[in-house]
């Protein structure tokens, strides 16, 4: 096993092992994972992210912060989420045993709440009085609006106009929760455009505003911070798997949009060489055209939204719009740590088409009585391909990171059902 580019292993995270060749030591002090990550932001924002980093450093080693977060995770979110053996699906596929990490059962319906609770506690510590967030599927918007309501902050959510339309139930939920939803019409009106607009808000309201980024991307320290808040997924999985099966899984599978649910599941296992990991990107309508969001599979390194990472871009460095049936995966970039994990070969990244995700969505609904979100339906489609090729003694854990209630209108439309 080989790691490259990491400097000063272990400076950041006291909890992390200091074994040589660890995959878990990044980022370095500049916020880099090898050549990825960094702080590519306007000067106006630089003091803010330095302040955030300082506060995060303090919080990370503060037992009171940890205790408060754990308490909320347990009693507000409902953690730990179950690790469920999908017996009928396993039988149907006829190969590896398939387990689901059921983060779709969390309060608000996805893994996004794990990160939002952590960050809202930081916002509170920093004395901020206003929350902004970007959202694609609306799950992060809902989770942000939820924690803002819980802690008494006003909240504004930027959401692409296309997504406002295809994720209407979540828009209404955010409004019920007291958040203001600002539709963004630039570009294709998806997550990338929402993030641009949230950054414009932040640069304008630097004094009172906390920017609650929803995925493991953006300028340092966000990728590391979001990963740490989401790693509860992987830590629980590890414990639960050891308790149930007495061993580690053979394979982890997760959908990657910006990469937060995937890094949350993967990170605690990165130094276990027997555990293979697969990140599933949105293949949209196919990688031969433009309508997909497979930035790792068919993009190249570039700089956007505060970090260097794999991006879908043209030869002039202009960012492409991309497409996915799933609003949460409809983003032409990816968190920087995934870019580094891809280059290092530790994690494999593959695309899944819209149509494959849709089939997986329907299969799970009928065979297990679970309606998954379209994002993890991508991960599921990959599990459906892989499990039959693996032995019955092998184990796959898939991150079932969101429930599909929000997607029934999109799916209904495609299936020709008037709702």
């Amino acid at each position: 096993m080989k790691t490259t580019g990491m400097q000063q292993p272990g400076v950041y995270d006291v909890d992390q092992p200091t074994q040589p060749n660890s995959y878990r030591t990044g980022p370095d002090e500049q916020g880099m994972f090898g050549i990825y990550g960094g702080r590519f932001v306007a000067e106006t924002l630089m003091p803010l992210i330095l302040e955030l980093e300082a506060e995060w450093e303090k919080a990370k080693s503060d037992p009171a912060f940890k205790a408060e977060l754990e308490n909320l995770n347990t009693h507000y979110t409902g953690r730990p989420s179950p690790l469920y053996f999908a017996e009928r699906l396993t039988e149907h596929l006829g190969g590896a045993k398939v387990y689901f990490k059921r983060d779709e059962l969390n309060h608000t319906g996805s893994h996004k709440i794990n990160n939002c609770l952590g960050q809202i506690l930081l916002a509170k510590r920093m004395g901020k009085t206003r929350i902004i967030a970007e959202t694609g599927a609306g799950q992060h918007g809902v989770a942000s609006a939820t924690v803002a309501a819980r802690f008494g902050f006003p909240c504004e959510v930027y959401m692409g106009a296309t997504d406002v339309e295809r994720q209407a139930p979540n828009v209404f939920r955010m409004k019920l929760l007291g958040a203001k939803v600002n539709p963004v019409t630039a570009g294709h009106g998806t997550l990338k455009d929402a993030m641009n607009e949230a950054l414009r808000d932040w640069v304008t309201n630097v004094d009172d505003t906390y920017y609650l980024i929803g995925t493991a991307a953006g300028p340092h320290p966000y990728p590391e911070m979001v990963r740490e808040f989401q790693s509860v997924i992987g830590r629980e999985t590890r414990e639960q798997m050891l308790a149930t099966e007495g061993r580690l899984p053979d394979m982890l599978v997760a959908a990657v949009g910006g990469g937060s649910n995937a890094i949350g599941l993967f990170h605690p296992f990165l130094d276990d060489p027997t555990v293979r990991m697969v990140g599933v990107e949105a293949g949209g309508k196919g990688l031969d055209g433009e309508e997909h969001c497979a930035s790792l599979t068919s993009g190249s390194p570039g700089v956007l939204h505060g970090n260097r990472t794999y991006l879908l871009q043209d030869g002039d460095g202009q960012i492409k719009e991309g497409h996915s049936i799933s609003a949460g995966l409809d983003y032409p970039g990816i968190g920087p740590e995934h870019s580094w994990l891809k280059d290092s070969g530790r994690v494999e990244y593959v695309p899944i088409l819209d149509t494959e995700a849709l089939e997986a969505f329907q299969l799970l609904t009928r065979i297990e009585g679970i309606i998954p979100a379209l994002e993890p339906s991508h991960a599921l489609a990959e599990v459906i391909k892989r499990a039959p090729k693996m032995g019955k003694d092998q184990i796959i854990v898939m991150n079932l990171c969101g429930r599909g209630d929000k997607d029934i209108f999109t799916v209904g439309k495609i299936l020709g059902v008037e709702l």
Binding site: R39, E43, V203, L304, Q313
Partner: protein, 279 residues
Amino acid sequence: MTTRIDTKFASLKAEGRPALVTYFMGGDPDYATSLAIMKALPGAGSDVIELGMAFSDPMADGPAIQLAGQRALKAGQSLVRTLDLARDFRKEDDTTPIVLMGYYNPIYIYGVERFLVDAKAAGVDGLIVVDLPPEMDDELCIPAMAAGLNFIRLATPTTDAKRLPAVLHNTSGFVYYVSMNGITGSAIADTTKIEAAVRRIKQHTDLPICVGFGVKTAEHARVIGQYADGVVVGTAIVNQIALSLDAENRATADTVQSVATMVRGLATGVRAARLAAAE
């Protein structure tokens, strides 16, 4: 190393007036019109030209400059074509400084080393790259200085006393003071605060200080020009270009003239600044 920027500010200092720095988006609404606008600027009273490099995701820009970038990209603008603009302009004007302004990704994709060689050869004098703070100096700032280009950094109201030295370090040509926390095209901030900030920065550097963001009128230019070494006007010019276009966003007979007229008006502002101050 002395660039055209250094020479220009030295001569303006001797003249006793601040610089008028004008921004427009390269390739908006099309290459030929954009070149004609650029050529008209010095005659209309612009001292320094900021040539915008179009980018699909201009996070620090308001709607006017976002739309200008989209028009330019739609008309086929690219970083290669923006360097062409500088080169074509230089055929007739070897003194007016050209500063490229934009975002890092197109430069990164072009290739930093190749970009610096080509930009220098095209007659570019300086770079303003919004998303490269001092923490990222190794990416472009230091190689640019080595290549003989000024790297002009933005100082903002959030740049506190502790940070200012880091911001000024490795800055050359001039310092661009962003008058407010916000995006381009917003309303002008409280000018007394701007003045205090400019005076504070002056205590730490001998570089000229230009103020931008929100400067739209000759009167703004006159007031800010009393203490700043230059004023930057961007959105107002970009808006003027947009206003002059037809329904399909094509240039009209009026486009270049109307921009020149606006710049002549702004130029009276910088020329009146010190007269007023002296009275």
